[in-house]
Symmetry: C2
């Protein structure tokens, strides 16, 4: 239930959020009088600010300081006030240039989008491989690389390819490999990429004329391939050093802990992906370690295909408008390129 704020309160809240994002200093009634859209005195603004504080949109570090947005304040800003096309011509130009780079496969694309995002926004980005569970297997190949080394390759309808190298203690024959290929293809092609277990596992075991140990190992490896799908990569970890927040040593520590335990973020990102772009402000991510950070995720869809998620992590005083604008623009450009058949 988005509280109904009158127009002036909206303007004041917006101005406070934006000034605070820019300066990282509590915003005073005095500095808002400058704002040409607000035709009233500082006293009036003070009254309004008091009310905005009352209903929880603002808070005061201490009595004689200006106001700072609360999480609720940021939330209202993100939901109701922010501009989603807050990009300069120059920034658009830069983004276009960076996306020009040669793209080789979808993984590469995610990498380039991540770098671009980090460079333009000056925040740390995390990219998470797509959750492949709902992709469909279109082919499986086993390739003998040596007498005891087998390579398994799985292709999906989305163009994502996964492969794994499996080593055995005993020699494998070509016949065995053909047999393996036949059965696995038969049972898995057309199915979603899911862990092999239970009845399916038993069925495969029964069908193949090869040693149990070999098959167990293959299934184990294929399952590992699926599990490893949520790896997270961090880019631009040093981007935080220039932010005033980083002066507080505790924030710095928290930040290092967070980027070291990438799974924390991966977790947040994989939970409740309602929309294309999701914003978690401070404690909204429900993780103690992240209570002083905001995360914006970008469920990076290409013509409906999930090719991974990119997240940005920064202080709650994050430039949401810029971040979201950049994400939308990158997404738009990539989809245009995609339609043109660029990758």
């Amino acid at each position: 239930m988005p509280e109904n704020l009158d127009n002036r309160k909206r303007k004041i809240l917006q101005a406070i959020v934006e000034e605070y994002i820019e300066t990282s200093e509590p915003v005073s009634s005095g500095s808002l009088v400058q704002n040409e859209e607000l035709h009233c005195s500082s006293a009036t603004i003070r009254n309004e600010m008091a009310e905005l504080e009352q209903i929880g949109f603002l808070e005061k570090p201490h009595t004689s300081a200006g106001r700072v947005p609360s999480e609720k304040g940021y939330r209202y800003y993100v939901d109701e006030l922010l501009r989603e096309d807050n990009l300069s011509r120059k920034e658009m130009e830069m983004i276009r240039e960076m996306l020009e780079a040669k793209v080789n496969g979808l993984e590469d694309l995610a990498r380039i989008a991540t770098t671009t995002l980090s460079e333009i926004t000056h925040y740390t980005t995390i990219s998470i491989e797509p959750n492949v569970n709902n992709h469909t297997i279109v082919d499986i190949k086993f390739i003998l690389l040596g007498t005891r080394v087998l390579m398994a390759v799985i292709l999906t309808d989305s163009g994502i390819i996964r492969e794994s190298i499996i080593k055995f203690d005993e020699d494998l024959t070509t016949d065995q490999v053909n047999d393996l290929t036949y059965v696995f293809k038969n049972k898995l092609v057309g199915k979603p990429l899911e862990k092999i277990e239970g009845p399916l596992e038993e069925y495969i075991m029964a069908e193949i004329n090869t040693g149990v140990k070999v098959i167990e190992k293959i299934i184990e490896e294929i399952n590992k391939l699926l599990e490893s799908s949520s790896k997270a990569y961090i880019e631009g970890a040093n981007k935080v050093v220039d932010m005033p927040e980083f002066k507080k040593i505790d924030m710095a520590k928290d930040f290092l802990n967070v980027i070291d335990a990438k799974d924390i973020i991966a977790d947040v990102i994989n939970t409740g992906m309602a929309k294309d772009i999701n914003v978690y402000i401070g404690s909204e991510s429900e993780r103690e370690e992240l209570k002083n950070f905001s995360i914006v995720t970008f469920n990076h869809l290409l013509d409906g295909k999930d090719i991974g998620t990119i997240g940005i992590i920064g202080p709650t005083r994050m430039d949401y408008s810029k971040v979201i604008s950049v994400m939308k623009y990158i997404s738009k450009k990539l989809n245009e390129d995609y339609k043109k058949g660029k990758f």
Copy 2:
């Protein structure tokens, strides 16, 4: 030319380095009197310390502070004084347990060694893939994954396998792939893993009956495969947060910059690998960004095969003795396992 220190000076230097490593506080003459090996008064120690400072082994933060080792002091300590078997029974036990974990291929092994090293020493570790340039190609395979998708797999004598997926704008036939395989095998097997260029490139181009664009793309991809060999991975970035050095915000910033630009470290590591274990103290690494850090690298050989390098980064006040002891122990254990045929 390692200066010739008399026995008492050596003992004093060693005691100072070790106390400073432990406490991170400048060491006073008073606290050294406790040392049961030194049977003299604080005044005598003060005289000795003054001399050690004279010849550059110690420095003073300010007049009324204790002494701190200089880079030269650490160097002397590392070269002449440190114990290389400074491990408790418990630590050995932990290392053995961690190395027990299932190992799958050599890459996996490097990963496990890295984790172990970070956990036991409480420093941040960086692992760098082996420099494959001097490995020999034993096989090359091209596998058609779709009509326009080709997978190239290169096997080397050291067991390292690299693969890459290549997409084309035109369809490929099985015949073409066979042709490709034949020529590439012919020209590359038995050769070291080096970039394809110059005469070799021309030769391949001339031999194959397939479109120039296709071959160019393949060569480009194979070359990329070789270049990407020095990727660096960081583990335990958060380990620094508890070190007193981290209280200085500048150190924290430097550290973040360093781990973000992993190549900096990779560079240092790839330069001048004289010995199995190399120690770079502060400015010895000749990189401005690293002047407050020490790096210990561990050129991780398995029965003569280079399977990658692992590095530890920490403050110059690093527990060199512990770090080197752990590295030696891990190396010994892995080689034992290897001889037993464990992987």
